[in-house]
């Protein structure tokens, strides 16, 4: 009961935050609502007893990425952009298409609801799973973990190449 209550709270924070993120005119307001969304996701992780993920989600996304977003928003003068129209004339078409896709997905999920089998929740608290995350990263998922470092190197080199005036 309490579980469901919290789930719906977090889910509505996520959805509402997401909606407001894309509809606000001011980029800073959008960023604030995106932060709310990310915090909601962290809440959902907590709700699933994935506390390490929740902590990392907040530190990385809210404390790192969104702070940098805000930094960029403040550096770039967006006054002009805020006064321009935000959606083009075909927004209603896009909305229709989105609604159609959403409807399809919902229909699919509804029709296929029988096919979902969830393992029953373990009663009580799960053991701390920080170590489990570490083990997964260094055993089964060691390779993608390492390849990701190459990817980040590429992103870094790429950012320097694209942004630096004189290489």
């Amino acid at each position: 009961m309490l579980d469901q209550f919290f789930f719906y709270i977090f889910a509505s924070v996520i959805l509402l935050g997401g909606l407001l993120t894309i509809t606000r005119r001011s980029a800073v307001h959008s960023a604030i609502f995106l932060i709310a969304t990310l915090l909601g996701i962290a809440g959902l992780f907590l709700h699933l007893q994935a506390e390490f993920l929740a902590g990392v989600q907040v530190i990385l996304y809210v404390g790192g990425i969104m702070v940098l977003f805000l930094f960029v928003i403040m550096l770039v003068n967006l006054d002009q952009a805020a006064r321009q129209r935000q959606f083009n004339r075909q927004w209603w078409l896009a909305l229709l298409a989105a609604a159609a896709v959403c409807g399809e997905a919902l229909y699919g999920l509804y029709r296929g609801r029988g096919a979902f089998t969830f393992p029953g929740a373990v009663p009580g608290n799960m053991p701390p799973n920080t170590q489990a995350v570490g083990n997964a990263l260094y055993q089964n998922y060691m390779l993608p973990f390492e390849v990701a470092s190459i990817m980040l190197l590429v992103a870094m080199v790429g950012a320097v190449v694209m942004a630096k005036k004189r290489l």
Binding site: V58, G63, M66, M74
Partner: protein
Amino acid sequence: MPPITLAALKPYIMMVLIVGIGPLGVGYLVLLERKLMADMQARLGPMRVGPQGLLQPIADAVKLLLKEDVIPGMVDKWVFWLAPCVTVTTALAAFAVVPFSSDFVITDVNIGVLAILALSSVGVLGIILGGWAANSHYPLLGSLRATAQMVSYEVVMGFAVVAVLLMAGSLSMVEIVKAQAESHRWFLFGAFPFGLIAFFMYYVAAMAETNRSPFDLPEAESELVAGFMTEYSGFRWALYFLAEYCNIIVVCSLAVTLFLGGWLRPFPSVTWLGWLDYAAPVGSFLLAGGLSLYLVKRQPRAFDQIVLAAVGLALLAVAGLFAWPAFNALFRGVFWFMAKIMVLVYSFMWVRFTFPRYRYDQLMRLGWRVMIPLGIVNVIAIGIVLVLKG
């Protein structure tokens, strides 16, 4: 429904105490800072309100609460309102996982350290948004500086914390202290000398994270008026101020937990030093009480004399309580924890009055070119030491 007992209610009582007494404590921290500054500059500091200026914080608080709350015309009202709330909420929420002693901890979550780091990183948003919402040049500059500074030094702090986590093998604040008890040494001296390096890095990063001098660029008063807080006044300004000092206490308590053995007394495993558990609290409270009583006759006003005498007697009473074994056993952890925090806070203030402010590029260079590489090397070195020790 579990029965309502004192043990079950303890966390809630502690919450109320922290939120209720916290602001008062912060007020006295400010008084301490002013007094210290005065002392180092051969002045007396606040002396008018109450005996030796002891009631100054209360006067300040009343002034701030009664002041007109000015909201400038062109600000983004909603964000302007939100920003200080975010900062103060996260600062106070961080106390939820601080273990004042093994008995006095609101909740011991198994990601305690992460929780504090996460909350402090959310708190940064309040500073950034506050500076932006003010729609004014100095606050914006202040927030820009704050952003870059916080993001950079959060990484440094992360590496310093990871160094301890490697030694402790847990993210829970209580477990980390227990690990220090088991290994018979504070992690400050763990994997010698790399623990010391980690502590030094943490200390510097903490100063930068809390915008303390010499890293107080976001609110550098000689350059940016008051940085991100320039347009704030009255109660909202008080919230920022409260959050700032709360954050100082939080980073200090994290430092105490991670490096200085939390609620453990110095040399926790040397049994013949057990008398310290009595001598230190009783002695220090006796000293403070005696000093207060000694100063009574120097007070010019009768009211001040009464207040100071009461304070002195109260301190003596606390000293007496600490001599009582049952009370001592319960509260000596809290005493040690607080004493260590006070030492750290004192050193923070000392640094503030001693060092000139860094220039912005120097700050960044220190962060990215010195501290972060040092942090990486340090973590690797500690890993190697731990593996070699087995």
